[in-house]
Assembly symmetry: C2
Homo-oligomer: 312 residues x 2
């Protein structure tokens, strides 16, 4: 019901990072694509098969180094239902390899519809007397613009199934301020108001290490907001995008961590997925290059964080 | 690139409503479910097959009455990738029958990720030299919390592919006010600020009937906000949920329309999908009962709207 399972994996691997699995087709070595096309044609089906092969090799290479993966739903939906099937198979494979899976879907709706999203991504769906698992991720990113009606159904499923969520608070993009930085009458900004909602919602999902099951997405590209939110929201764990390709570095993410080295998990996608291209590695070594970049990123961030300890 | 195609269908059928295709399994007559289970088992596959048969019969019955359908992604995702395949087939079937398809996915992200959502739901995805159509809906609902970085990629695809979007502004749920009604320093509420963004973004997608390709979701449960936004945002078309099951009536949606009877399309889901249960119709007559309820809803709302005309 909290992020405890993720926290334990972070501590075990001494690595507060997550690998974003955002597999654009041109990140995948040509030989792997051609193998898939030979079986399925140059179709959505073929693309989806290539992505699955690529993801599995990456998961094999990363599972001993990185505690979690974060597949981004959009990169699978763009290959149709065939891509969504690859997403399902990716989630399952990563969990088999012991990884924590954060589905980055930024889902949002209300009432019965949000219950359906919760069942889809984290829970179970009844088909007559049988309970089926549609996708079964460990954690879902959500957008809180609709208020509690959009979060309560997910809180319920997280409580029952030992799952968790991250709510968008301060995103990493340049235009995030258009709405999120606007000041409310109270003097708070919109993103601070959203951060306060997270603390409140998280009260329903307490964790044994001080962090609830309702985390917040806070971009590495806004280090001062990250530090301010860390101090103000002691029970809210942060998912921090924007490291690497988007410009954030280890010093930028450091304010997200607490004195135990907990409190944040930093995402990188492109820099890991495309490491083989950037280092001019042989295409066959794409997974090895991804692992090397994951180690570099871990060491870079751990240089700021020091040791990660469970609180006494 | 605008909502012109939808507007023309509304005028042709003299019906400013959209049928929400939110097919929960227990809305579907048992005989239809059993037929699907006999072929596919009591599995996600069987549930997805039952939903497809149900949707096709509803579309057959509604396509001469209602200009548009709005499938809600959550109700398909909850049946796994098999459900998402049914969503794909539902979109295609509705379009074959001449209906305009609004995919209610409330998607949101930034940059390349939002480009992927745009390709997934409205556009085309390149697979090497070939361009594939993943889902091909006509219109997508989106959440604007991330600002322009989340909308611009979709504006581009809408412009190229003659598609459109609806942005969440003031949602129909009781807790929508938690964030949306908060006042900004400027004196505006958050939802009014979002409405102003819609007018600005819509400038990129002008339509020949005065409405742009960037509409706004504004709930029927807040009629005074609907009227206030109608007056303030003359080029923003409204998608209005909350009629029927959520408590809004014809008088509540009336403020959303302009003097030509345009400017709003009103959604109902449960009241149409479950009409056969509410009227105690024979299960075999479920589609006929849905059509009768769609006619009742049309007449109810047209009683307030009068004739719908294209502006001179």
């Amino acid at each position: 019901m909290s992020l405890d399972r993720m926290i334990e994996k972070i501590v075990a691997l001494q690595n507060p990072t997550v690998a974003g699995l955002d597999p654009k087709l041109d990140y995948i070595p040509q030989y792997l694509r051609e193998e898939a096309y030979a079986r399925h044609g140059r179709t959505l089906e073929g693309a989806a098969a290539a992505i699955l092969a690529y993801n599995k090799a990456l998961i094999d290479a990363l599972c001993g180094i990185v505690p979690a993966v974060k597949p981004q739903a959009a990169y699978y939906e763009m290959y149709g239902w065939q891509g969504v099937r690859t997403l399902y198979e990716t989630i399952r494979y990563a969990q088999e390899k012991g990884m924590y899976v954060i589905l980055d879907g930024k889902r949002n709706d209300i009432g019965a519809t949000m219950e359906s999203y919760a069942a889809a991504w984290l829970g179970l769906t009844p088909v007559e007397d049988s309970l089926e698992k549609p996708f079964g991720a460990d954690c879902l990113t959500v957008n809180g613009y609709l208020g509690s009606d959009g979060i309560n159904p997910l809180l319920k499923v997280c409580g029952e199934q030992d799952k968790a969520m991250f709510v968008l608070v301060k995103t990493s993009n340049p235009s995030s301020g258009e709405l999120q930085d606007q000041k409310l009458e109270s003097g708070e900004t919109v993103y601070r108001a959203m951060g306060a909602f997270c603390e409140k919602w998280g009260g329903e999902l307490p964790g044994k290490y001080g962090y609830s099951g309702v985390g917040a997405v806070v971009g590495a590209t806004y280090p001062s907001q990250l530090g301010e939110l860390r101090a103000a929201k002691p029970s809210t764990f942060f998912l921090v995008p924007g490291y690497g390709a988007q410009g954030g570095g280890a010093k930028d993410v450091a304010p997200g961590f607490d004195k135990n080295g907990l409190g944040a998990i930093v995402n990188a996608s492109r820099s890991i997925l495309c490491a083989w291209k950037k280092t001019n590695a042989a295409p066959e070594d794409f997974a090895k290059a991804a692992a090397a970049e994951a180690v570099r990123m871990r060491d870079d961030i751990m240089g700021e964080v020091g040791e990660i300890r469970l609180p006494q």
